[in-house]
């Protein structure tokens, strides 16, 4: 199925962009008239994925973070968060609840949050090349029937 709308944004991996990243995706998804909770789910999941790029993908330097979001006629939203950082060697282990390489202030919860706040989570990664996190969320129909889709 073809996407009916698409956005793409690229920004440097500075922590001050975390709030920008979740806001820009939320603003884009707002055209589907999501419920408040659905929007907070998306904001939270995007925040986790982007923070991981900033904290883990580029531990010692600033690199590019790219977000592509697509909306499909059924109300499905697909969000890809991509970095060209260090990559993840063992994805299965990384996704285990409470697994972290992040030290004292990290709790290893990011992937668990992404998983529970979206309908589908996919991670692909190549060591030394980077990581792509794909988040999918269905926005319920609610008032959307009234609009022209």
């Amino acid at each position: 199925m073809k996407a009916i709308n698409e956005m793409k944004v690229t920004f440097p991996s500075r922590s001050s962009n975390e709030s920008f990243a979740r806001s820009v995706v939320a603003s884009f998804v707002a055209q589907l008239d999501p419920a408040v909770d659905e929007l907070v789910d998306i904001r939270t999941a995007v925040s986790e994925a982007v923070t991981n790029c900033i904290v883990h993908a580029y531990p010692d330097n600033i690199g590019e973070v790219t977000i592509v979001a697509r909306i499909y006629p059924t109300g499905r939203v697909v969000i890809k968060v991509r970095d060209k950082g260090i990559g993840i060697e063992n994805i299965e282990q990384a996704m285990e609840p409470l697994f972290t390489t992040g030290g004292e202030e990290r709790y290893g919860l990011g992937f668990s949050v992404m998983d529970s706040f979206t309908d589908k989570l996919k991670v692909t990664s190549k060591k030394g090349k980077g990581t792509v996190v794909t988040l999918e969320k269905y926005i319920s129909m609610r008032q959307r029937q009234a609009k022209q889709f």
Binding site: S15, E18, T44, T51, P97, L98, Y107
Partner: protein
Amino acid sequence: MAVRIESSGEGMTAFLTGEIDHHTARQIRETVDAAVEKSKPKNLYLDFSEVGFMDSSGIGLIMGRFKLIQHYGGRLTVTGTSERIAKIISLAGLERLDIFNNAQ
């Protein structure tokens, strides 16, 4: 300001405001830790009632302060957590800790 600190005979309360993510958590952590290390309160309260957004960085923030105050022999109490924040706390499996007190 993402955090405001008030002290009384009871202990120290850090009122957190706005959005808690990896970026803002750093500033909150530095402010709270400096205040705790200075006055080593018996009780530290983290008040979340003015927090509009929190991701997993908030869990790191809570647990880091938990360890710090335990190091000084004090107690941590977390108050004012919304349903959203409670959901993340329970994902972390932390609701069993006796630091959460929403009746406060």
